[in-house]
């Protein structure tokens, strides 16, 4: 291996690592607010990439139909569970967000997709289709489990992952896709040939991370989310609606997922089930950083990207084994340093 290859691998690793950083940070965010380890984040990413690809081809993406299905399911389930408590105003809002909006988007996409309106339209349409899904998934699967233990929530998250992968196959089929990058071409930087695409991925990632920072530090809603993360009961007592915080966290997750998907679609071929491994690698980053700090998670995720990139070169068959095995020493370290004070005190 010469330095050119090394640098090339580094570029590759950092770019993938940036995507994993977005995933890892999202997982930390969702976990802090809701205690859910949101494994299905990967599916949202894959769906976003598949959506962009469909729009580029002038076809109606499966997500447009999926959104209608999810909206109808969320509305129906909420009606069945809580019809006694729902106010007329809430019902109207539900009608608007769960039924009218998805159907409206579907009709719009059916009209506009064949026109191939280009990159900006594709991005806007993808965001419009993906962002509402976060809150819908939360309402369907997790809201009734809000008081459950981390273990139960994790098992439920795995269940959601299972269902979403299957739905992805139904609505997108088994074909892999690759989208056109936002920026193409390269420029030299010393001995390195840098792709403009890499730069765009990095810039977008940094923008998202910066946006998150501003959201949590400067806005009331962000502070409410942080308060919920620290103490759910306390947050509720001072008037933070815990339910709403769950929905907001999931909406943020879906937004970041959509952005990550738009980015990754041009880097590698994405299939309906590619999300799982992407999600898990972000998650390895999050675990390496202790499922707590955002900046550390981002750094650890970049490390995962680099590790993956170099092991793909040296031992490509064992790439996944190496990436997932680095969790073990970290877990070992944690099991040696954390004493028995860690009393979960939980009933499954």
């Amino acid at each position: 291996m010469n330095s050119t290859i090394a640098l090339f691998l580094a570029q590759d690793g950092i770019i993938n690592g940036a995507i994993y950083a977005l995933v890892g940070v999202t997982l930390v965010l969702v976990f802090a607010v809701t205690r859910i380890i949101f494994v299905p984040q990967g599916e949202l990413i894959a769906w976003a990439a598949l959506t962009v690809a469909a729009l580029e081809a002038g076809a109606v993406p499966g997500t447009a139909y999926l959104l209608v299905v999810l909206g109808a399911a969320a509305a129906a389930l909420e009606l069945a569970r809580e019809w006694r408590e729902l106010t007329a105003r809430y019902l109207l809002a539900m009608l608007a967000t769960d039924l009218a909006l998805p159907i409206g988007l579907l009709l719009a996409v059916i009209q506009l997709a064949p026109l191939k309106l280009g990159f900006t339209f594709n991005v806007i349409a993808t965001l419009a289709l993906l962002v509402p899904m976060g809150s819908l998934i939360y309402r369907i699967a997790f809201q009734p489990l809000a008081e459950a233990t981390v273990l139960v929530l994790l098992i439920a998250a795995i269940g959601v992952h299972f269902a979403l992968v299957g739905l992805g196959l139904v609505f997108f089929g088994a074909e892999g896709v690759r989208t056109t990058p936002l920026l193409s071409g390269t420029f030299p930087l010393g001995p390195l040939v840098v792709k403009w695409q890499s730069v765009s991925v990095l810039v977008v990632t940094l923008l998202v991370l910066g946006g998150l920072y501003v959201f949590f530090e400067r806005t009331m809603m962000g502070k409410a989310l942080r308060a919920t993360a620290v103490n759910r009961l306390g947050a509720r007592l001072v008037g933070v609606p815990v339910r709403a915080t769950g929905r907001i966290a999931f909406t943020l997750a879906a937004t970041i997922g959509a952005v990550s998907g738009i980015l990754i679609g041009s880097l590698t071929t994405i299939y309906y089930d590619s999300g799982f491994l992407i999600g898990l690698k972000g998650f390895v980053g999050a675990i390496l950083a202790g499922l707590g700090s955002y900046p550390l998670t981002a750094l650890a995720a970049v490390f995962v990207g680099l590790l993956e990139s170099y092991s793909a070169f040296f031992a490509s068959a064992f790439k996944e084994v190496i990436v997932f095995s680095i969790i073990i020493p970290v877990l070992l370290w944690r099991s040696l340093t954390s004493g028995t004070h860690h009393d979960e005190d939980e009933e499954v």
Binding site: L154, F162, L169, V284, K319
Partner: protein, 592 residues
Amino acid sequence: MAQRLQGMWSRIIAIAAVAAFPLLPGVPEFWVTLGGYIGLSSLVAIGLVLLTGVGGMTSFGQAAFVGFGAYTTAVLTTQWGMSPWLTLPFALLSTGLMALLIGVVTAKLSGHYLPLGTIAWGISFFYLFGNIEQLGRYDGISGVPPFSIGPYSLINSRAVFYPIWTAVLIAVVLSENLLDSRMGRAIRALRGGSIAAESFGVDTARAKLVVFTFAALLAGVSGWLYAHVQRSVSPSPFGINAGIEYLLMAVLGGSGYVLGGVLGATIVTVLKDQLQNLLPKLIGTGGNFESIVFGILMVAVLQLARQGLWPFILQLLPQAAPKAIDAAAPVLTHREVPSRGTPLLVIDKARKQFGGLVAVNDVSFTVNGGDIVGVIGPNGAGKSTLFNLLTGVLPATSGQIYFRGERIDGLPARGIAGRGIARTFQHVKLVPSMTVLENVAIGAHLRIRPGVLASMLRLDRDEEKRILAEAARQLQRVGLGEHMHKPAGSLALGQQRVAEIARALCLDPALLLLDEPAAGLRFNEKQQLAELLSRLRAEGMTLLLVEHDMDFVMRLTDHLVVLVFGSKIAEGTPAEISANPQVLEAYLGGVE
């Protein structure tokens, strides 16, 4: 007795029904094959039941252990020419070693880190299986010989049905025996958090490792059988998706019940077969669409019936008979009781700092044998922290604590329990789903120690009788004798506190530590509690209690220690304390 007979009969009928199934005329071959697969999955699901529903841990990676069993026997039979039957010990050995290795690293982890770890190694092993030359890479190993008896090969599904279901039967019996034993109670106590279990001497890390390894071994047996039923192995049935399906079986069937694992395996296996036929027709193309239904099912069970489906069947079955208590069982050995008036517990300048905050500030006092000593103080006085120092939950920053002349600060909770100090908890820590008797029996964990294997093989019955008799005796001593067969969660708070005292007495302590025993009790519950504690003192027990109910301690104790802001401000008899101006000021505020 009648109940017990009824229970036995329903089991015999169930076993006979399973055994007769392949022999019934008109049962198609395919159903028998499916029945075999149900048995194979049941083995794994039973292990997950023990791990998830009973032990409060979980694993998405069980399929990897199935893989270890399968690949071990496949390699040994195809490359080394061994007989399929003889490879079982090797399959168990390889799975068991792997489980121990992984378990030592991950089973100690609390909460969500273990399942996360299992996802990671579940995926790693899939790729590992698929990339090793000797294991045939992704093609796997074919030509694995079938089981045979003499010249007869067990090739058709009717023949192979029996070894599979014999293994399931053995697994069910071993698992139920394990749960109904000293180690089983320790494993079940894991769900109540580790502090309570450790306080009675349970080595929670070991208990977790035991259940983790046992679950893996069951999966290994399943893999060993699978290899010779399928007669080939390849990585795909041992990947993470298979692991998730196994977990679905355990959750769906009822993660707290051994037979729930069998129920879950049956439902999921049959459903999968039906869906694989039906869904592609509905959707128009092929694919693993059943995962949609499985995923929805998993979430729905957690939302609607978190205990799974087995409890619904349990209602239809005859009630299990309450445990028989053999009052004639030999009494467990007793510890020598310290003589009245001699120093038992000496606290010398105990100090605990959290950063800059001094929670316990060089507190010294002595507890003499046969006394009831109370530690009182307003909220935030450091009572609970002091209690945690004495029980080994927190390490002291400095100072020394001696018990019967031996230094005990720095010992873990388990070590302190072993020296004869038993405790109760301010927030009751009983396992609600276990009976009162079983909860109390955990107290005797250190007094007699039948082994895990002996328990599984039912060789521990003499010891078990002695443990249960002791637990029953302590329950009668505290006046809860009539409630011993009820689930602990069904008792009133006051009774639960008393049950905690019985559990503590079961440890045969020389010193009993009570953490706010009167908190949350009603007036006459408090009176009964005070009577009980006086009676224990009369029987020679030494008690130290932390409390902030003034009335309660004034009437009960021989000696009082008053803490304010972490420091001891007074010490003496209740009469001296109630006349002490400093104490009055601390409690009532200064006179302006």
